[in-house]
């Protein structure tokens, strides 16, 4: 048998996804669609947050949502109550969304009829961080019941996100959640990242988030 020889390669493993994401981003930009993705652990309140956001935005902005889930379409059914276009992406065994899944889910949609598209990722704080979905803004959500040090435990996802949202703030006192310590954890893994504290249930803090979003969309 011949002796082994070394072949230089230098190729990005996720090149396929990154190329598709770039194409998707250009397509969304051209159509004037501002895409926002959401990542969090399961149960942080992505769907409740998104439902409220969609309901409040729909009078001023043409919105739609894609929802990733492993098996059920429960979240899509729930979001459909916001009376905006919603489509489920069932990933099967895949623990994250990829650009290809997003592009496929958008087939048949007229992007020129949209201003803002939300993409809810599968509940997971690890795998989604590797995949660019062509979004303009990535939100990472953490709920007050998860502990202030969540960002230190999952620094990569907090670092790849653009905005942090602390959810279920109405429960903060009951679970003795230290907002300042959580903010410090977030700023430690991603200095200068904007942070919002809100409750989708009571509406507390929702307006600040919506004002921020409006400013981003209009930029």
């Amino acid at each position: 048998m011949s002796t082994p020889r070394l072949v230089q390669v230098r190729q990005n493993v996720l090149k396929h996804n990154d190329v598709l994401a770039r194409v998707l981003r250009e397509r969304l930009n051209k159509a004037g669609v501002f895409a926002v993705s959401l990542v969090s652990s399961p149960g942080a309140g992505k769907t409740a947050f998104l439902e409220q956001t969609l309901k409040q935005l729909r009078s001023t902005c043409r919105v739609a949502a894609l929802v990733g889930d492993l098996a059920t379409d429960n979240d899509a059914a729930r979001l459909a109550r916001a009376e905006v276009p919603v489509k489920q992406i069932t990933t099967g065994t895949v623990c994250h969304l990829e650009a290809e899944m997003v592009a496929r889910a958008l087939e048949g949609w007229n992007l020129s009829e949209l201003d803002c598209l939300f993409i809810e990722n599968v509940g997971n704080l690890v795998c989604p961080s590797s995949y660019d979905l062509g979004e303009a803004l990535r939100l990472v959500l953490m709920s007050v019941t998860e502990g202030e040090d969540k960002p230190l435990k999952y620094p990569t996802i907090f670092n790849t996100a653009d905005v942090a949202i602390i959810t279920k703030i109405d429960l903060a006192a009951a679970v003795e959640f230290d907002v300042q310590a959580a903010q410090q954890s977030i700023q430690s893994v991603h200095p200068e990242m904007p942070i919002f504290e809100l409750s989708a249930k009571t509406g507390q803090g929702m307006q600040e988030w919506l004002d921020f979003l409006h400013a981003q969309v209009q930029r």
Binding site: V7, V9, V13, P155
Partner: protein, 114 residues
Amino acid sequence: MHELSIAMSMIEMATQEAARQGAARVTALHLKLGQLSGVVKEALLFSWEVACVDTPLAGSRLVIEDAPVVVYCSRCQRERPLDSIQKFFCPVCHAPAPEIRQGKELEVIALEVQ
């Protein structure tokens, strides 16, 4: 765990490259893995052996070169390697340093083929 599908992508890439080189098998794959790639090294190594079965990479070694996170410190006006990915502050002057210059790599660098 997305490391198994990452491993499979790498094997596909290496198989194609080996065919281009006229090689029958790949004995090692060298990967540069950034600390902020979102890929867990141990999980990838664990997946590797399983994913290589019945491919030209069966029995191959996965050699991982860790790439630390390097940030740009605007106060020092220099690139600095981070001590910890839990602290995005300049290790010298302690100013916040959100600008990442290196550490997101997930890149196949080289193959050893036969």
